[in-house]
């Protein structure tokens, strides 16, 4: 928690009272956002499950090479970016700004690599004829709709996270933001990682040939 992260305590102003959570309002706000976003991802994964269970001709298009291998690489990259984010948060909390900026940069680079691998896979599938409404293998066209919908929403979160991390790193170096902001960005980034922990087995591994 940064030096400017003041938690309201009794006696600090007429309207102030102690936070029951013992965390700054910024951190509570990101937790509430994460809760809402988790419900959103939960709903679309349930919708995917509904369509998959209800379809008698569901397609399982992913061979180990390249699709599943690519998914494993993406998973390792995202998990590693969470570790570098933890190091960045610790460095920022310890006042080691230069180190925090470097580790934030590492996290953003790994996030960018994840997005690049994901987009490469998308373009490869589109080249094979996959579309949100088209299945080139002849099975249910709903596979494309759910695959591009779920992974697209997650990819949007990854790209947004990379932008946020880059902005926080630049502002931290300039002294405009502090360790509390790094921690908040870190919570969001770990959440994006956590969502992938469900997308990879349910969307990729359950559709492996």
């Amino acid at each position: 928690m940064g030096s400017s992260d003041v938690i309201a305590t009794p006696g600090h102003g007429a309207g102030a009272e102690a936070s029951p959570y013992g965390i700054p309002s910024r951190k509570l706000a990101i937790w509430l956002f994460i809760l809402a976003d988790a419900a959103t991802f939960g709903a679309i994964l349930f919708a995917y499950g509904y369509l998959r269970v209800g379809s008698s001709d569901w397609t399982r298009p992913f061979a180990f090479w390249p699709s599943i291998a690519n998914g494993i690489a993406m998973t390792v990259i995202l998990l590693t970016s969470s570790l570098t984010m933890i190091v960045a948060v610790r460095a920022a909390a310890a006042g080691r700004t230069a180190a925090a900026v470097r580790w934030l940069g590492s996290s953003a680079l790994l996030g960018g690599l994840f997005a690049a691998l994901h987009l490469r896979e998308w373009f490869s599938m589109i080249h094979e004829g996959w579309r949100p409404s088209t299945n080139p293998l002849g099975g249910s066209p709903l596979f494309g709709a759910t695959f591009f919908g779920i992974t697209g929403l997650h990819l949007l979160h990854v790209v947004g996270g990379v932008v946020v991390i880059a902005v926080v790193a630049i502002a931290l170096r300039r002294g405009r933001l502090h360790a509390g902001h790094v921690e908040t960005a870190g919570l969001y980034w770990h959440f994006v990682d956590l969502v992938w922990m469900f997308v990879f087995p349910l969307v990729y591994l359950m559709n492996a040939r």
């Binding site: 959570y21 419900a39 269970v53 969470s82 469900f198």
Partner: protein, 104 residues
């Protein structure tokens, strides 16, 4: 979880161990995928492993283990309740399979 105060920051080695554990779980998921199992069994196994991963991520990477217990109890049961309510759609998904006309 402590009900009244936050813990001191744990050592970095703990996070590295959690990261390594998560990688092992991913390896187990991939291994489970290529073992010949009924679809339902494979799905249950993958979901169980994913929930363990999510738990480790929440407790350690997202630091919930070291925050006040009230934060955990305010957030996690709420989400689980929402996901539980969504479970009402499965009987209809199973019903859809039996509505298909026979293949000519």
């Amino acid at each position: 979880m402590d009900a009244t105060r936050t813990h001191p920051e744990p050592r970095l080695a703990l996070y590295v161990a959690v990261w390594a554990g998560l990688l092992l779980i991913v390896a187990a998921e991939v291994g489970l995928t290529y073992v010949h199992l009924p679809v339902g069994t494979r799905l249950a196994g993958l979901l169980a492993l994913a929930c363990v991963e999510a738990g480790l991520g929440l407790l350690y990477f997202m630091h919930l283990r070291f925050e006040r217990a009230i934060l955990f109890w305010s957030l996690v049961p709420t989400l689980l309740f929402v996901l539980l309510l969504l479970d009402h759609l499965w009987p209809d998904a199973l019903r859809l399979q039996h509505l298909r006309p026979p293949t000519p």
